[in-house]
Amino acid sequence: MPMLNIYVHELKQYRISTAIWVAVLVLMSVVYISIWPTFESAAEATREIIENFPPAFKEIIGFSNMAFTSLESFFSLIFMFILVAGGVQAMHLGTAIVSKESRDQTSDFLIAKPVSRTTILSSKLLAAITLLILTNAIYISSTFLIMSLFSEQEIVSQTMFMIMLTMFFLQLFFLALGFLVATVRPKIKSVIAVSLPVVFAFYFISILDNVIGDTAVSYITPFKYFDFEYIIEHNFYELSYLITGAVFIVVALVTSYIFYVKKDV
């Protein structure tokens, strides 16, 4: 029963900020997808031109994924920015939900109750995952709706769904990282000062990927786990990255539990 109480309490605590995040993500979809009609009419012609480009050129300009030639490709291009925002949301949520009591100096109330630390952290984790599932459900359905308004072609496809679902996996990664940071670091005064630089650091690493060598670095940053081009082509995710992500999430969460149980709050 206490588990359910904390769970409901945390859901209530973060309903407004989650609603704002969902609104932001959907708004980004609207704004970016509204550009698409300009390219749609020329998509066929553009594709023919690009297919004749030398591979080096496609590589440099970053259009190897043939953006502007189909809605899927175009969406892949803009979705990167939405992923950054979604990453910040998840990292922020994870860090905030775990460190809240020590930041607001309300630990006494929570810890004084006859509830184990493990139960507290589990309730918080479940609440955070619930909020992220809601975020993604609303985001994905709204984006399909937005696309149908702006594009003439058939919209609802498994590929598109799989591309959008990558945000959920990425968010789980950053949620786990947020849990880890919040439990390991003794005191966090400002959550955004932690979450924003961390997510952007991962984003920048993904841009600079081929400095140390493509594959090695791509395992470090979740922004590289999902190659949209690969998804468009194979209609599936690359398993090695899925496994890497899953392993990271499990390790980060287990470590969080260990630290949270021991922590002085």
Partner: protein
């Protein structure tokens, strides 16, 4: 005067670790970005040949009309966008933190019983903030000059890098002033940083929108990231005077606003 200097030094110490972290980040970004250039340099030549044969309209679609990636400075101009983002995140958070910190940590009492006016407090904090921005900017300037020159085998690019750093500095000050203004106007200290950075991120996403759409018009005035676009600076070898005036206007407005509001409001102690 003593309190004044003390507060200034205290703020510098408080942000020392952060500043070192951001400086390392900037150096890594410049170094990492430019080492990517090496690989593109050779490929770039075949691309240039190819581009020469393309019709104008097609080039415009890809924003590649002017882009000559075989030259180090063009490549640097692409990285410059990320330097702007880093500078903006740093300064927006710094501006918010400088002012909101006292209320959040309940340290107002200590600070505001000192025999100095609120105006002086803000000024000391503002100077400490600007000092941080200058240091970060100089670190970026020196590392950029050294690293880009190392890759550059054409004409000197010192001038263009200087111009971009001036642009970076404007962006830094704009977001510092926005961070401070948010802290002055937002009542809940916990919400200041999220609001300031949220604002900063929306202008970044707006500039991406403008870039993809390729259609500037009136929207461009709403995002400082567009004011000092690296590719435009390299192409013109100058900063756009309209945007300089606009930036100065924003900065003066935001700082005056901060002083005005902060002097009047009740502080939560």
């Amino acid at each position: 005067m003593k309190f004044y200097t003390n507060l200034y030094l205290q703020e510098l110490t408080a942000h020392k670790k952060g500043l070192i972290g951001w400086s390392i980040g900037m150096i890594l970004m410049v170094a990492g970005g430019m080492s990517k250039y090496q690989g593109y340099k050779q490929a770039g030549e075949s691309v240039n040949d190819f581009m020469a044969g393309m019709p104008e309209g097609v080039l415009a679609v890809f924003g590649g009309g002017q882009l000559d990636l075989t030259q180090a400075v063009w490549f640097y101009a692409l990285i410059f966008l990320y330097l702007l983002i880093m500078g903006a995140i740093h300064s927006a958070m710094l501006g918010a933190e400088l002012i909101a910190k006292e209320e959040r940590d309940n340290t107002c009492e200590f600070l505001y019983v000192n025999p100095i006016s609120r105006t002086d407090i803000i000024t000391a904090k503002l100077l400490a903030g600007v000092t941080n921005l200058v240091v970060l900017n100089l670190v970026t300037l020196v590392s950029s000059l050294l690293i880009v020159e190392a890759f550059n085998d054409g004409d000197s690019v010192t001038n263009q890098i200087f111009l971009m750093m001036i642009g970076l500095f404007f962006v830094q000050i704009i977001f510092l002033s926005i961070g401070m203004a948010s802290a002055a106007v937002v009542k809940k200290p916990k919400l200041v940083s999220p609001i300031a950075t949220g604002f900063m991120l929306s202008t970044f996403f707006l500039s991406m929108y403008i870039k993809i759409k390729g259609d500037y018009e009136w929207l461009q005035y709403f995002t400082p990231f567009h004011y000092f676009d690296g590719e435009t600076i390299v192409k013109d070898n100058a900063l756009n005077p309209t945007f300089i005036v606009l930036s100065i206007g924003i900065i003066i407005f935001m700082f005056s606003f901060t002083y005005f509001v902060f002097n009047k409001r009740d502080l939560n102690t």
